[in-house]
């Protein structure tokens, strides 16, 4: 006779506490499949932990965001933010959808070139562009977004040396009503730095000023801030027209749209509080269309959205190692996913769902990772069904940053798989091995032997 499914015994004291009209958030539905592929099979074949990316979700989200903007503004171009997730397979999905590349280092620039992106369709942002990087970018006719004056002077020198004009924009920082202001990048709008930089570029005679760029923050919950940013960049663009009779070809509003993750400390889940893409598109498009651009010469609107495009396409699968109780009797659960793999657990309360059927009984628990470090906490307090050792679970909305900011620490990093448009599973990054890790190390001759 087949045995019944075991659930460990649990007792809960009934307490009358402060009423909470929203109730506690408990995941009622197990996540047993991702795009039709059983989670259990994925872990059995590729191991645990395992990052899983859904190509279907990437493409459908991209189309949804693109539609929100192109329905409202006629000239829109997306540029995939490499730092958000620079796995080649992921970048190429965005490039197939029509995205240019937005990079912030020589490493990312080379990745984009290697992926086959034309230099003309690479936007080079960031404060750390080496002379060698800028040389490549000028030769390839890339769009260089100048961050500071030292970079400006290097570009002038290189342009003279190479006898080539470079295509540039400046990054502008500004007060959009959201604080703190991100003023460490680019040139300030309010105090005149931005105009100084623009005048220098126009006077240099070595560069083509093709655009204006800003990136006002991250996880921005206020669409109106983008309207302010679009108006301020427009003010600069129209000022250039008046002063120099010069048209900029594009306005780049960067990224920063939020995903539907829940920020730590938030009372309501991100799914309820995040503005829609239509809200952002409406603000930005209205600001540009209501400005005094000639209707037959509207600037191209460039967006470098990263997080909002990919977060929901990423899952992290894991397994329960053990259940314990703390010194106060509180339930704690140790899992095989640490903060070295889930960097975003520092600022999100990630949604966690068991990967198998469970009963309605739940308990509050703290989810600890496997690292021998006290800070390795994935969720400080979460209500979950009664998980046992060996049970599997799914962490949702992990597509942004985790696969580029992850750290090799204590354990080797796991595989990443992509579920294609059917249900075919592709390994897009192998797990690290001791051999790969050790191949970078060198032991000096005198340290090769010891006696214990």
């Amino acid at each position: 006779m087949e045995k019944l499914r075991y659930e460990r015994p649990v007792i809960k004291r009934l307490e009358t506490e402060m009423p909470n009209k929203f109730g506690s958030r408990i995941e009622r539905t197990p996540k047993t499949h991702i795009d039709g592929v059983p989670v259990q099979d994925l872990i059995a074949k590729y191991g645990s932990p395992l990052f899983v990316i859904s190509e279907k979700t990437i493409r459908s989200t991209y189309k949804k965001v693109k539609k929100a903007f192109t329905m409202r503004y006629p000239k829109v171009q997306f540029a995939w933010s490499y730092k958000t997730n620079y796995l080649d397979a992921v970048c190429n999905i965005y490039h197939q959808e029509g995205s240019w590349a937005e990079v912030v280092s020589g490493f990312e620039y080379d990745k984009a070139i290697k992926n086959g992106v034309s230099g003309k369709k690479i936007i080079f942002n960031g404060p750390d562009k080496t002379t060698e990087d800028l040389h490549k970018a000028i030769v390839n006719d890339s769009l260089i977004h100048i961050d500071h004056l030292d970079e400006f002077y290097t570009i002038v020198e290189l342009s003279e040396k190479l006898g080539r004009r470079s295509r540039v924009a400046i990054r502008v920082n500004m007060d959009t009503g959201v604080y703190p202001i991100w003023d460490r990048f680019g040139f300030n709008y309010e105090n005149g730095q931005a105009w100084d930089a623009l005048n220098k570029i126009m006077a240099s005679g070595k560069m083509d000023l093709v655009g204006l760029h800003c990136h006002i923050g991250t996880y921005m919950l206020s669409p109106s801030a983008y309207g302010v940013a679009a108006r301020k960049l427009t003010d600069l663009a129209l000022g250039l027209k008046r002063r120099y009779n010069h048209d900029v070809k594009y306005i780049d509003l960067g990224g920063g749209f939020p995903s539907r993750n829940t920020l730590k400390g938030a009372y309501l889940p991100g799914t309820d509080t995040t503005p829609s893409f239509e809200d952002f598109a409406e603000e930005i498009s209205s600001a540009l269309l209501n400005a005094e651009y000639p209707t037959d010469n509207l600037p191209l609107l460039i967006l470098e959205t990263g997080r909002a495009l990919i977060d929901e396409a990423g899952y992290l699968l894991g397994t329960v190692i053990s259940n314990k109780r703390s010194s106060t009797g509180k339930r704690t659960t140790i899992v095989d996913i640490g903060i070295n793999l889930l960097f975003t657990s520092f600022w999100y309360d990630h949604k966690i769902t068991p990967a198998q059927e469970f009963s309605q009984y739940t308990e509050e628990t703290t989810i600890y990772g496997p690292l021998c470090m006290n800070i390795d906490v994935i969720r400080e307090n979460v209500v979950l069904p009664l998980l046992n050792k060996g049970d599997q679970f799914v962490i949702h909305h992990v597509g942004a940053y985790n696969m580029s900011q992850w750290m090799q620490f204590i354990n080797l990093r796991p595989k990443i798989v992509l579920i294609g448009m059917g249900d075919k599973v592709h390994v897009i990054r192998e797990n690290e091995t001791m051999e790969v890790f050790n191949s970078l190390e060198k032991i000096p001759e005198h340290l090769k032997r010891f006696d214990l």
């Binding site: 045995k3 659930e7 649990v10 007792i11 809960k12 004291r13 109780r325 009797g329």
Partner: protein, 81 residues
């Protein structure tokens, strides 16, 4: 280990302790163990019943049982032998 005689256990898993006025809920496995304890079954006997009936190994059940008894004791629902 015995459940205190005054403790009332309903069929749906609701527990009432008249000594303290506290109420508790238990899941079906928790209720089953309490019923075994009311029948004065030993830990060994309870483990044998559960392992025969459910998909669980001896060591996992032993760990969960001890954790559960610890909670019952903490809530003053059992009398120590």
């Amino acid at each position: 280990m015995k459940i205190k005689k005054s403790i009332a256990v309903s069929a749906s898993g609701l527990i009432f302790n008249p000594d303290t006025g506290e109420s508790f809920t238990v899941n079906p496995m928790g209720a089953e163990i309490i019923n075994y304890l009311k029948e004065d079954k030993s830990q060994q006997e309870i483990a044998t019943h559960v392992i025969e009936k459910y998909n669980v190994d001896t060591s996992s059940f032993e760990k969960d049982y001890e954790d559960y008894i610890g909670l019952l004791s903490n809530y003053s629902l059992v009398e120590n032998d």
